[in-house]
């Protein structure tokens, strides 16, 4: 079946299978910054923004979100023009394997959009739905904090 989605502010007409998750649709269409970590809504590696709210794309059927606006990591910043969150995570040493990073960046961007100066507790809460096995979260929290100070 065909479906229309707005991905990173561009209208896209995509061919999908019924029963396909948004994670599968995005990855199949080249948005490979969206990652599979668990498929059960427990890790946040597949996080995207839907109408600016973080959602686990593995838990969403693509067919059910026709017409919605999706932001993936590819729509946040580029190597030449990274978002302050991306830059500050790099500087803080918050990126080890980086598999969790795209999802965390999106959650952090959503947090800072609605609350530009969060406390440590608010940052922890905002990224609590993400698992990161490499960093122990310490430097991720630091990086997001540093980004908030730049905004």
């Amino acid at each position: 079946m065909k479906i229309e989605l707005v991905i990173n502010q561009t209208k896209k007409n995509l061919e999908i299978q019924p029963g396909e998750t948004l994670l599968e649709t995005l990855r199949a269409n080249g948005y490979t910054g969206v990652k599979y970590g668990c498929g059960s809504g427990d890790c946040g590696a597949c996080m995207v923004l839907m109408n600016d709210e973080p959602v686990n794309s593995c838990q969403i059927l693509t067919a059910s979100v026709a017409g919605e606006s999706i932001t993936t990591i590819e729509g946040v910043g580029t190597m030449d023009k990274p978002h302050p969150v991306q830059e500050e995570l790099v500087k803080a040493g918050a990126i080890q394997c980086g598999y969790c990073t795209p999802g965390i960046v999106l959650s952090a961007v959503a947090l800072l959009n609605r609350n530009p100066h969060p406390t440590d507790e608010e940052i922890k809460k905002a990224i609590d739905s993400h698992l990161c096995r490499c960093t122990g979260y310490v430097k991720i929290i630091e990086g997001i904090k540093n980004a908030s100070e730049r905004l």
Binding site: Q17, R27, Y31, T32, G33, V34, K35, Y36, G37, C38, G39, S40, G41, D42, C43, A45, T72, I73, E74, V76, G77, T78, M79, P82, Q86, E87, L89, V90, K91, A92, G93, A94, I95, Q96, C97, G98, Y99, C100, T101, P102, V105, I123, K124, K125, I127, D128, S129, H130, L131, C132, R133, C134, T135, G136, Y137, V138, K139, I140, I141
Partner: protein, 785 residues
Amino acid sequence: MLPKGCNMESKKPTTDLKTVGFSVNKIDALSLSTGRAQFTDDFSAPNTAHIKLLYSPHAHAKIKSLDTSEALKIPGVIDIIHHGNVPAILHTTAGQGYPEPSPYDTLMFDSTMRFVGDRVAAVLAETPEIAEAAVSKIKVEYEILPALLDFEKATDDDAPKIHPEKGKGYLIGAPYFPEKNIAAKILIDVGNLEQGLKESDFTFTETFYSHYGSHSALEPHAAFSYLDERNRLIIVSTTQVPFHTRRICSHLLQIPIRQIRVIKPRIGGGFGAKQEVFIDYIAGMFTLRTGRPAKLVLTREEVFVSSRTRHPMRVTVQAGVQKDGTIHAIALNALMNTGAYGAHALTVLSNAGSKVLPLINKAPHQRFNGTTVYTNLPVAGAYRGYGATQGYFPLGQMMDIIARKLGIDVLDLYRKNAIRNGETSPIFEKLGEGKEGVEQIIESCGLDECIDRGAREIGWSGKRNKKIRNGAKVRGVGMACMMQGSSIPRVDMGAAYMKMNEDGSFNLQIGATDIGTGSDTILGQIAAETLCVGIDDILVTSSDTDFTPFDVGAYASSTTYLSGEAVRKCAEKIRLQILGVAAEMSRMPVESLTMKEKMVFYKGGKLSFEEICHYAMYTANQFQIQASESHFTTASPPPFAAHFAEVEIDIETGDIRVVKYVAAADCGQPINPKLVEGQIEGAVVNGISWTLTEEFLFNEKGKLTNPNFGRYKLYSAADLPDIKTIVVPTWEPTGPYGAKSVAEIGINGPAPAIANAIFDAIGVRLHSLPFTAEKVFQALKESAR
């Protein structure tokens, strides 16, 4: 005599470092944070077919019949492989150096199923969905066999036998008794334990249990294979060991090594899980059989059920101690569960002794007595800490027990008995990894400083034995000391190749395997330091078996220390070549030249690296400035650490919370301090999580009942205690720019430190992991009785 310049003195402590010792940004971090970096599943090729596996639902069974005819009829199914149509080649999935010190007891597909999750067959189909549908149509008839699910009963006479045929055993000829379910056996004696215990004022015996654990690297295992234009098999793999993967695939697929190229792209964490080679050859087999690109990506559930875990271990510690706190005799008696197959069965066991006993090096009487047994449970493998974690859990608690009995501060007990600079341990020589070890004298040790600074940071003297109470909540502090190693001496080898480009940049090619650790960056920093350039001038390519030299891979805390020294030596050769060309250009003696900031200075002038490289390439006596180097070691200098935990326990519910955690570590000269801290923090949080919330739950048939992150609870950000990392710099003369390892040591602390803190709070000694609220509550109830 060598010319002077920046950091010629790599073998002596120096304050004049330009890149080493600085937290430069990880070179792949920006591409990772923007989603540009490619992981295995991000690779694709036209016409890629997809693989799904069928797993045994039984812990122990024989396949009586296997019928794929219905499955093959499904449109889109391309091929199915199983024990009936692939060669039966015994091997080990442990990605270790050759010959591997693990028993050859595994087949690609077997007709005997030895755990719930053992693989029965694999389907190749046009889509993952079709493959999945076909898997459910394969008909298998099993003869169910009695299962061995209690590893403490494994050597009973009437226990079911998991590998009754001897198979090939160990290529290295290590003791192996599968007829008794024994996968490995070690007995090392120093002095005379019985006599030592007799001579001691006090003796202690306690038994502790470490449990299963999932590495839970966020990226699941994946492999993608295809044939290139010359029909060579290319395997893109989530591997920590690309060269071992190539070798093992060559063996299993029965094609020469030259026909295989293994590429390691970005890897989403490993922690030992990806030191196992168990899916790459399945993808490769399908590609060889069908010519199709083939992709296998495990689901999270498959990772839990069918990949690898931490080896559970029971350890009985015996100690003999004099009144003044001198430890006179110490023994670790270990029983380790390797699950259905013996991956790392010998070496994880040996490390529970070889990385642990040397900490208490002065005891004249020591023993390590270990046995590894098979069971019908998930297969264990390499996991960060690698046996040392399971050894420090008992040792760290025993130290606390001894100190309390003697009425001395446990910090003083460590200060009195722990190994120091200039000292050795008889264990170093007697016990290595799967064979005898290598004698070594400690040349760098910051343990005292780790203890002092950690104690200050946690507020030890104000909190220890104080049982500070707030309503139903009571606090306590505990600590533990530990060491690890840096690479496997006389076993591991890493190599590097470098060449110079006209703009004064350098390509650095290394077999070393960055799995998220930052080794590409650290090795780049070492090269940059040696060549007086910035990190941006080092172009790092790693882990491609066609284009980079050999390296054993990412394990045994080896990369910084071992591959780093290969890189330093290689860069040093390049440096001498540059100076040689500069001498020719300037007509000045080499000894009079100085290298600094991408320039060579001589009396009266200077030459830029650009000019030097252009001269070498285009002007006279032309040659490519290039070099290669290899490194192996005869030592494995341990990093040291002291960890401190403060816990708060609700005595009405058993709820336990880590309030503060302090990890002080000596890893020699940190090459990149932020990455060092990151290694420690990641290991500590993994360790706390394993200690408190992570648990494999099995039903009575041996089936894992919580194979998902919903019910296998990893620590997340909101669970975090206040974590303080203290890096205590020392200088290791045998390491590159004074560096030792740091990757694994941090995971050894949380279990004993938290256990000791629990005792400090509530006076209850917990002997078995994990420390769930129910367990603490039960223990409180029992102690009240």
